[in-house]
């Protein structure tokens, strides 16, 4: 309990540091979605701490409401990635946008049609209120993690360059997201026996993320300027065609050698 409270306090201090460091470098204007999320988390944490001390009965309800609000605002970090990492690369951005929309549509369809499968919700109705919140939070975070991972894969595949600020945002949010998805899944599966471990691991992962954000967003460091290849813009169709024929040649080369 003491450890959980200590981590909570440490998180509030780190959140305040992240938010207040935004003023000297004018980072609020540069990363509005990220700082909306960070400010919301800070305000929620301070209010929830006060509520925990003054009115523990209402704390649980408000805690989950704040959690869901912040999960929603956390999507802003993905928007920041689009804006600061992918926008200098129109091709990569287009693929990421298409992949994002496709994934969103797939997850939305799954959310709408899955409950129609006979027996799909039996488990959900059989469990208590807390477990239902845990399952809902886990599902929302898994959906967000799928989107986040797809964007990361596109960034890695196209080797887009990113600055210290964007890299820190991605690392911090990714650590929290990955750890949360895993601990929520374990909490749902193991049940209340896992609560103590959950109450330490998830805040600890969040604190790690805050430290990464505090360090990487200490000052403004944008992504390095990208020197777009002017001749390729008009020749891309030719590049696609010749790349394909080069690959065809190499494929036949390899298969001939392998089968010879």
């Amino acid at each position: 309990m003491l450890l959980t409270l200590a981590i909570w306090w440490a998180c509030i201090v780190a959140e305040a540091l992240v938010v207040f460091r935004a003023f000297p470098g004018n980072l609020l204007r540069r990363y509005p979605f990220f700082y909306t999320y960070a400010t919301s988390v800070l305000i929620c944490d301070v209010l929830l701490f006060a509520m925990y001390e003054l009115s523990p009965a209402s704390y649980a309800t408000w805690c989950w409401r704040a959690e869901f609000l912040n999960i929603l605002l956390g999507c802003g970090i993905i928007l920041e990635i689009f804006k600061h990492v992918l926008s200098p690369y129109p091709g990569a951005e287009r693929i990421a946008r298409f992949a994002g929309l496709t994934l969103f549509a797939a997850i939305f369809c799954f959310g709408v049609f899955y409950p129609m499968v006979p027996g799909a919700l039996n488990v959900q109705f059989a469990i208590g209120q807390l477990e239902r919140y845990v399952a809902l939070e886990r599902n929302l975070l898994v959906a967000q993690a799928i989107l986040f991972f797809a964007v990361l894969a596109i960034i890695s595949y196209y080797r887009t360059v990113m600055g210290k600020n964007a890299k820190g945002m991605i690392l911090g949010y990714g650590i929290w997201l990955g750890a949360s998805v895993m601990t929520l899944a374990l909490r749902f599966y193991i049940g209340r026996r896992f609560t103590h471990a959950w109450n330490v691991i998830q805040p600890l992962a969040y604190f790690t993320s805050l430290v990464i954000w505090a360090v990487s967003l200490w000052s403004y460091e944008p992504s390095p300027a990208f020197d777009a290849p002017a001749p390729l813009e008009m020749d891309h169709e030719a590049v696609v065609a010749t790349t394909r024929s080069a690959m065809e040649a190499m494929r036949s080369h390899i298969s001939k050698v392998a089968s010879a």
């Binding site: 992949a99 020197d227 390729l232 020749d235 080369h253 390899i254």
Partner: protein, 192 residues
């Protein structure tokens, strides 16, 4: 239980991908860098690394026959070992070409605003399949040795020349003047 395993695996995948992202060097890649490198690598391949004569020499069956008939027995394993190393190194070169081609292609694609999702997926799968095929070939050479595949010399020599030719065509739009300008831009960017 299956749901739990899937979610845990996915979470672990997310965290490990972050590790690789964190390790990535923050190199500012100019758009012209890969182009210049691709062109220079092509020149190096054509002139020094992959001429048909060199490949014919590496995989020459006559050498094996000579060693088997004329050379003392204790020298044969050494010869086989050395030839295997050279053959593996050759496949490695082909693999590097594919990686280079992919790098060059992605350098172009990421800046092209009208990119087709279907084409990108198809090419990504093709690249992955080719790289896998190279690895498989490396394993085959490692296990069976460089002379275990008859007819290898002719095929390798012929198609290696084709690969270089196609590369030449894919970079044909880069005239020597453009190449010089791009190289200067890349050098300038590197200095910065």
């Amino acid at each position: 239980m299956i749901q739990l395993i899937l979610i845990l695996a996915f979470g672990a995948l997310c965290l490990s991908s972050l590790y690789f992202l964190a390790r990535r060097t923050p190199r500012a890649e100019g758009g012209s860098g890969p182009l210049v490198e691709a062109r220079q690598a092509l020149q190096a391949l054509r002139s020094g690394l992959l001429p048909p004569e060199l490949i014919a020499r590496i995989f020459a069956r006559a050498d094996l026959e000579y060693v088997l008939s004329e050379v003392p027995e204790n020298v044969r394993p050494l010869f086989m070992e050395e030839r295997k190393k050279i053959a593996l190194s050759w496949v490695n070169q082909v693999r590097r070409q594919i990686l280079l081609l992919r790098r060059f292609y992605l350098g172009s694609a990421r800046s092209y605003a009208r990119l087709s999702f279907r084409t990108e997926i198809a090419l990504a799968l093709d690249f992955a399949a080719l790289l896998f095929a190279c690895r498989a070939l490396q394993v085959a050479l490692y296990v069976r040795g460089p002379f275990a595949v008859p007819g290898m010399v002719e095929t390798t020599a012929a198609v290696a020349a084709r690969v270089c030719k196609v590369y030449e065509e894919s970079l044909a739009f880069l005239s020597p003047a453009q190449l010089g300008a791009l190289a200067d831009r890349s050098a300038g960017a590197a200095r910065l």
